[in-house]
Symmetry: C2
């Protein structure tokens, strides 16, 4: 009979691929992000770059470390990503005079202007998914729970 020590004892095959939450997460993330691709591609953005732009449209300037905290990317990922955004002309990276170590990331006019195009994206995604906003918010709530659980 099930015991407290073995929460999986009621499950027939714990190694079954199609009931791994990690697999569901990986596939769901890729599937949903894939929906953004055709929308972002005309803007010249990848999905992680889009997330960085979202962060900057909210607050600016941001140091690389702050940006990394916001979008949950480590500096090794962010550093080349930001260079690509700078090459696109959406951001500038400028050294802080007071602390030459840190880099302030700011939007260019082009980067700021891009926000108008971006506003079309969330409704387009919701429409494409054809799920109720309530359902999406409920999923989101549960995602935050599992993120909290995984990172504590």
């Amino acid at each position: 009979m099930p015991t407290q020590k073995d929460p999986l004892s009621g499950i027939e095959n714990p190694l079954a691929l199609d009931q791994q939450v990690c697999f569901g997460l990986a596939v769901a993330a890729r599937s949903v992000i894939g929906l953004y691709r055709p929308l972002l591609e005309p803007m010249g953005l990848t999905h992680p770059q889009y997330l960085v732009m979202l962060a900057l449209w909210e607050e600016e300037p941001l140091r690389v470390s702050e940006l990394g905290r916001k979008v949950q990317l480590d500096p090794g990922t962010l550093s080349p990503l930001l260079k690509r955004l700078e090459a696109q002309g959406y951001i500038r990276r400028e050294r802080n005079k007071l602390d030459e170590r840190s880099l302030a990331v700011v939007l260019t006019d082009r980067g700021r202007a891009l926000r108008d195009d971006a506003e079309k994206i969330p409704p387009a995604i919701v429409e494409r998914l054809d799920m109720s906003v309530d359902e999406l918010m409920e999923l989101h709530r549960r995602l935050l729970e599992v993120i909290a659980a995984a990172t504590r």
Copy 2:
């Protein structure tokens, strides 16, 4: 007032980073998969490789295309991944005599034996997450919904 055509009209800022479901999915997937890393690393597996092994422990042999359907990876991703698994000695890839195009992926004894170690992983993850199995199953159910929505 809200209309049917604009399901997001009740939301203050549709571009707010921290309420993007795509962002939640990306972070959740990375966080959870990150929990597997220390468990898989001693086995010499990455997480996608682990998923491939799960598929093979269920059914074998599998052609590359079948494997791709199961683990939802395209052949361009799978091809080098399988070579690495073969280099590790966990699988073999053998040409089908009847159809020289297709490649049958089979487990080696070493690959089959690895399953015993793998059995420790799901309970370890559930314990580490410290979430109820019910809650995880509910999340999983919702993930399957969004996958279905995104891929139809």
